[in-house]
């Protein structure tokens, strides 16, 4: 099982490197999961390659979420979990954005599924997505101040 996962992981990395040598800046293997660290500028192009390359065929965007590594800079780590239904495989694309410029390309043009996932990240972490058609708060009220899932936001809330 783990061996199979390893072989598949190298296929993804190989295909992406063959497409653009800059696309993969790091590969992390942990507990049988593959994480491909992608430069921020190449995120959308790499994701498109993952979706459209017939050898990869990651047709479903399963999840997108953010991890705040405060006080490390760049502190926001965005994780996109892609799933290939025909090939029964998953991969995680990761990229980082800083607090000074918390902006990243939206994946909505590739997967409409990214719409609410990115709105949720915008809502809870305050990261803006360029090219998102409808970037509004989704879970919190519009007049809420701050981004509550940032690590420097107190758990008990601000009073």
């Amino acid at each position: 099982m783990t061996q199979l996962a390893k072989v598949n992981a190298s296929v993804v990395v190989e295909q992406l490197r063959g497409w653009n040598a800059q696309a993969v800046s790091q590969v992390v293997e942990y507990r049988g999961e593959t994480t491909i660290v992608v430069p921020k500028e190449l995120l959308r192009a790499t994701a498109q390659q993952c979706r459209d390359n017939p050898a990869l065929n990651f047709n479903l965007l399963s999840d997108a979420t953010c991890v705040d590594r405060f006080p490390v800079e760049p502190r926001f780590e965005l994780n996109y979990h892609l799933l290939s239904i025909p090939r029964r495989e998953r991969v995680r694309l990761r990229t980082s954005v800083s607090i000074q410029h918390p902006v990243i390309d939206s994946l909505v043009p590739l997967w409409p599924a990214a719409n609410w996932l990115e709105r949720e990240i915008f809502d809870l972490f305050g990261i803006r997505f360029e090219g998102h058609p409808d970037l509004r708060r989704i879970l919190l009220p519009d007049d809420f101040e701050g981004a509550p899932l940032r690590r420097d936001f107190p758990v008990e809330g601000k009073r």
Partner: protein, 398 residues
């Protein structure tokens, strides 16, 4: 709050607020409908009325404390939520769970799947005007909740699945109780089908309503019965088996029509498959054996040991004060909840509290398909579509 301006208005159209207090929205979902007569031009869902910040709260709890929060997300599938969270923590820790505990987990989440589908069927039939069915469905669900009560002491917020295994040894006499339920269930499903499947009103309300192509559904991230009703046989239990699902024999029911009626048929067929899985699980569960793994410092020691062994007492104290610290890293685990792919992403920084816990809740993502599904349809069909997407607002808003 989403306002009227969100919908594009023309002089002929009117904007109608459906929810958040509307019985057919199954909780506190608000949908802004822009209507031309009785036809829906646009539908804009507005979420967040049940947002409780569960993911933020998890950051201030130890890994074992957060289990009780997971129950409260998808309140029709608490055991499934416990399971995905515990699987994620176990993956971070590299823990193996004893086979007996794995089989009991499978049995319980499959019973949970039946109970969740029963609530869905009952409430959806109620929305469509078939009122008596709800009473039958809730009658059978009650039997499942009684089983859970015997196992966990709780009917709904069970927290029975714990990191490294289960909270307790199964109660005495559980086999008879589960067997009684399994013998009762298939004929009852036949009864529901006798009332609905060939019913002309039921077919008239559901057939051809809420169609979306498989490509659209995949692009929108829909999983679960909604996707399987479009002919895509994607099921986490088969594609990425967890908790020993690879040892079970069952089918993944699919349809190709991708309308509300197909989703109904898929869910009913899934209930029958779940009965099969529970039967197999009962055979696999041995009479004796551990329900927790041996992992000092992570899994609480037996009560008896604490009275005689110094180490056990120290471990117990440490687990419930400081907690345990998984090594730094991330884990993303998915299971097949009654609604689709339920995922849990945990990032650990090596401290006793998780750095980040995120749930990929199927209700939240499946609901994204609603605007496209209802566009151009009648307002009454919107009710059918919301129903067959099968949302639980606790999970949508978290």
């Amino acid at each position: 709050m989403t306002t009227v301006e969100t919908a594009v208005g023309t002089t002929k159209s009117m904007v109608l607020n459906m929810g958040p207090q509307h019985p057919s929205t199954h909780g506190v979902l608000r949908v802004l409908l822009e209507l031309d007569g009785e036809n829906v031009l646009t539908a804009v869902p507005d979420l967040g009325y049940l947002h409780t910040g569960i993911e933020k709260s998890c950051e201030d709890k130890t890994y074992s404390q957060a289990i009780t929060l997971t129950d409260r997300m998808d309140y029709l599938n608490p055991l499934g939520n416990n399971l995905v969270y515990c699987l994620a923590v176990e993956k971070l820790l590299g823990l193996e769970v004893p086979k007996r505990a794995q089989y009991i987990r499978v049995m319980l989440v499959e019973l949970q799947r039946i109970s969740s589908h029963l609530v869905w069927l009952g409430t959806h039939a109620l929305d469509m005007g078939a009122m008596s069915l709800m009473l039958y469905c809730f009658r059978e669900r009650e039997e499942i909740l009684k089983i859970f009560e015997r196992f966990a002491g709780q009917r709904m917020m069970t927290s029975y699945i714990r990191i490294g295994g289960l909270a307790l040894e199964p109660p005495a006499g559980w086999r008879e109780q589960v067997k009684r339920f399994l013998d009762m269930m298939p004929p009852r499903i036949d009864e529901y089908e006798a009332l609905l499947t060939e019913n002309r009103i039921w077919q008239g309300r559901l057939k051809g309503v809420g169609y979306l192509s498989a490509e659209d559904l995949v692009a929108l991230g829909t999983t679960g019965p909604g996707l399987r009703a479009a002919g895509v046989a994607y099921d986490n239990r088969k594609a990425f088996p967890y908790s020993s699902y690879e040892e079970f024999e069952f089918n993944v029911p699919t349809r190709t029509e991708s309308d509300c009626y197909a989703r109904y048929l898929v869910r009913v067929a899934e209930m029958r498959e779940s009965v099969k899985i529970v039967r197999q699980a009962m055979q696999k569960i041995s009479e004796e054996g551990p329900v927790k793994t041996e992992a000092p410092g992570i899994v609480p020691p037996e009560r008896e040991k604490m009275k005689t062994e110094m180490e056990a007492l120290i471990y117990h104290f440490k687990i419930f004060t400081e907690g345990f610290s998984p090594p730094p890293g991330e884990a993303f685990v998915t299971v097949e909840s009654p609604r689709g792919e339920l995922g849990c992403f945990i990032a650990s920084d090596g401290s006793p509290k998780p750095l980040r816990v995120h749930f990929r809740s199927p209700s939240f993502i499946n609901l994204q398909a609603l605007p496209k599904m209802v566009q151009g349809q009648l307002i009454a069909d919107t009710v059918a579509c919301i129903g067959t997407i099968d949302i639980v607002l606790g999970e949508v808003d978290r």
